[in-house]
């Protein structure tokens, strides 16, 4: 069946031009998003740390993210060492076969994978996509963004939205992929930063007025991409994570609280970082789109490369506890009919609340917690 046209390239759509582009993506019954843009990664249908009401009231993430998660097809990928040459040719064949089956059986939007192989090894498959299947698929999913320039310069393919599964390691990589013409991104470093206690602070193409953590010596030193909130220096800081940020976390809370929550291993610390980091990414893409609109993207990209550090800050603290709780039932039948006794409400909190102090006697005294006797 033919796919409803869900994507529109804005501005020049000449398939022979390899370069950044803007577009508009829409799925039936969902909001539309402007591209380039990113999708929030979900796990079991939920964005980690954030409940749906938090997402709705505090982020720009829309329903479309979920819709797309379902439609990215899982290519026949091998993890680990590269497959042998015989396997490579089979891999493209099998993917083609599998995609045809999928298109026959499902009526929802399917993104066809472009495999992480050199172009020649999958040329037959890609040509089939361009010639026969382009009308039926909703887009292309790239596991390797470097293959983008090799794609056949046909209108049938170039009008499809391009989704990057090429896991950019930093905003610099995002910019590079945008410059190759990528439209939609998934950004695993966003979640890694949150779990590592890092507040992302980069802006495109340069810091906004009022942003802190910028080296003062005017433009010569590089600006960090984020702030490690585990650093004890934030313990009494009443500054927001980023002064130019208008997210819930930055408008309602300060660094001292985030620092406290991380060191107390309270889940809310990661919730607040996740809200902020998603907001930073949304603004980053928004600025990229404005820059494309204004025709200043290339010079802005150059500025960004000069201004910002190449990598995210090192992780120094511990991440959230591994997800998954102790399996234990505390079912309704816990109270007996006669002379029921109170359940002991102690031990769990002992474990989870870090009740045995990390501090030694001197520190306890300094904190005003108690006094030393000798």
């Amino acid at each position: 069946m033919e796919q409803k046209k869900n994507f529109m390239v804005l501005g020049s759509a000449d398939p022979n031009i390899i370069g950044p582009r803007m577009g508009r993506l829409r799925f039936e019954g969902k909001d539309e998003i402007e591209t380039p843009n990113f999708l929030a990664l979900t796990s079991r249908g939920a964005v980690p740390h954030m409940t749906p009401d938090v997402i709705a009231s505090n982020t720009n993430i829309r329903g479309i993210h979920m819709a797309l998660e379902d439609s990215i097809s899982l290519a026949d990928l091998t993890y680990g060492p590269l497959p042998g040459s015989k396997r490579i040719s089979k891999m493209a064949d099998r993917t083609e076969e599998w995609l045809s089956d999928l298109l026959k059986s499902r009526c929802q939007a399917i993104f066809a994978p472009v495999l992480p192989l050199d172009f020649d090894s999958q040329s037959e498959y890609i040509n089939r996509l361009a010639d026969d299947l382009a009308d039926e698929i909703a887009g292309l999913a790239f596991y390797d963004s470097n293959l983008l320039p090799d794609m056949p310069a046909t209108t049938s393919l170039s009008r499809l939205p391009r989704l990057s599964l090429d896991e950019p390691a930093s905003p610099h990589h995002i910019i590079r992929q945008v410059s190759l013409g990528m439209d939609i991104f998934t950004i695993p470093f966003l979640g890694f930063a949150t779990d590592a206690g890092i507040a992302l602070t980069f802006r495109f193409p340069r810091p906004l007025p009022g942003d802190t953590d910028i080296p003062i010596d005017n433009g010569t030193a590089v600006v960090p991409l984020g702030v490690d909130m585990w650093m004890p220096t934030h313990a009494t800081s009443l500054l927001p994570l980023s002064q130019s940020c208008s997210c819930y976390t930055c408008t309602s809370h300060h660094r001292a609280y985030i620092q406290h929550l991380l060191s107390a291993k309270e889940m809310l610390g990661w919730v607040l970082l996740q809200i902020h980091n998603h907001h930073i990414l949304s603004s980053f893409f928004c600025s990229i789109r404005s820059s494309l609109k204004d025709g200043t993207f290339y010079s802005d990209a150059e500025d960004f490369a000069k201004i910002y550090e190449s990598e995210l800050p090192e992780k120094s603290g511990k991440g959230p506890r591994v997800r998954g709780y102790q399996y234990r039932s505390e079912g309704p039948g816990e109270e007996k009919k006669n002379e029921a006794a109170w359940g002991n409400l102690g031990p769990d909190d002992l474990v989870e609340g870090g009740l045995v102090p990390d501090e030694n006697a001197e520190e306890l005294e300094e904190k005003g917690f108690a006094e030393r006797l000798s």
């Binding site: 409940t51 009401d53 406290h260 809310l268 997800r323 399996y327 109170w342 409400l345 102090p357 006094e371």
Partner: protein, 402 residues
């Protein structure tokens, strides 16, 4: 002593000892009877302060012991107290820290000076006094602060020690009152002790009421005693307490315990259970606790609790319409599942207390109690807990009556 609260009695149940009141604290009014969720370390299990506000909560609890360790008095001083630390515009109650100290630091022992313990790291002897506890709570800036008490498990067989603990708690109250730096901004509550010995409890009530603190807590309960004994203590104490002061029973949170304690004349409660149990996939509902991890919920597309008005259950504008199946699917895998149930459970507790209050005001609390137990036990009177039936009889409500 000065007080930073106003207690206005709104209605009294004509049958039981239940009261409805409005308590105005430094950070706004709260409606009694009241359940207070526990945000131990200045955060409630992954909920943003905004989400907590949306559950209707206007008074939550922070633990002094935890805040004293992290972030510590120095940081609290610099950031301007616990309200500023957590961005919470409403009221906070803190405990004294003594309970955690004694129950968790195995080496702690109590002397007349205070709680002595050995630093777990270097073994050096340390002392936490009533003065330390009050100074810390003054820095925290909580709207209600608690005296340091000599707390002993109610089931302790040592009658002499129990008497000593009660008397010491009275002496420590005097030290707390003397040490309290902000009586015009923070309300110090005394804590009635005396274990299960009703005579000790009576003496303690008389002594402490004479100290005229703005509010009164009944302490040392929910420590493993039989519930019938618990009820006798609460009933005895409330009869001796002044009408126009709030009465707080510490550590109580099971729905049945809440409604029975209200009938016995108590106003305020706190407990970690509703938020803790959410982490194990348990949803508190009118008909009992559902463990949503059970496979029977895998394809149950009803809301967590039908008719519940919380953000999690509500359908339509502003509601999430979360199903049991969705929570089941997330349970044990993503913290979001626990956050959702935490929202629901806190909402359940608060809305239970709101309906209790309405019932008192409309003077139909006995009927409310009968309906509450019918719902909870699916109409099967033979499974009603004896302790609850007995306790309610003492205040004129017979659950067995048709």
């Amino acid at each position: 002593m000065p007080s930073a609260l106003k207690y206005e009695l709104v209605a009294r149940c004509s049958t039981t000892k239940a009261r409805a009141a409005t308590l105005t604290l430094p950070h706004g009014p709260v409606s009694l009877p009241l359940f207070m969720p526990v945000a131990t370390q200045a955060s409630l299990k992954g909920l943003t302060p905004q989400q907590l506000e949306e559950t209707g909560c206007r008074l939550c609890l922070n633990n002094t012991y935890h805040l004293g360790l992290k972030p510590g008095q120095d940081v609290l001083e610099k950031v301007g107290g616990a309200h500023n630390l957590q961005g919470w515009k409403y009221n906070i109650l803190t405990d004294s820290g003594g309970f955690q100290m004694v129950s968790l630091l195995k080496l702690a022992n109590i002397t007349e000076e205070g709680v002595r313990f050995l630093s777990p790291h270097d073994g050096s002897p340390m002392l936490l006094t009533p003065e330390h506890s009050i100074a810390l709570q003054n820095t925290i800036g909580s709207d209600i602060i608690m005296q340091l008490d000599d707390v002993l498990v109610t089931t302790s067989p040592d009658a002499k020690r129990m008497k000593e603990a009660m008397e010491r708690s009275v002496r420590w109250l005097d030290r707390c009152i003397a040490a309290h730096a902000n009586p015009a901004r923070q309300n110090l509550f005394c804590i009635i002790q005396g274990g299960l010995d009703l005579e000790l409890r009576k003496t303690c009530c008389i002594e402490m009421v004479a100290r005229n603190t703005p509010g009164i807590a009944i302490g040392g309960l929910s420590g493993g005693e039989a519930k019938s004994d618990y009820c006798k203590v609460v009933n005895t104490c409330t009869s001796l307490l002044p009408e126009m002061k709030p009465r707080y029973v510490m550590g109580i949170g099971y729905p049945e315990d809440l409604v029975v304690s209200v009938a016995l004349g108590a106003d305020m409660f706190d407990c970690v259970w509703p938020t803790r149990t959410a982490r194990f996939g348990n949803a508190i509902t009118r008909c009992g606790v559902l463990n949503l991890r059970h496979s029977r919920y895998a394809n149950d597309f009803r809301p967590v609790e039908e008719g519940c008005e919380c953000v999690c259950c509500r359908q339509g504008e502003g509601g999430l319409g979360v199903t049991r199946a969705f929570v089941h699917h997330l349970a044990a895998k993503e913290t979001v599942g626990a956050h959702l149930l935490t929202m629901h459970n806190v909402h359940y507790q608060l809305s239970l207390m709101r309906s209790v209050r309405e019932a008192i005001i409309e003077d139909r609390f006995p009927a409310f109690l009968r309906q509450f137990f019918r719902d909870r036990y699916d109409g099967d009177k033979t499974s009603y807990p004896d302790w609850a039936v007995e306790a309610l009889k003492t205040v004129g409500v017979d659950l067995m009556e048709n």
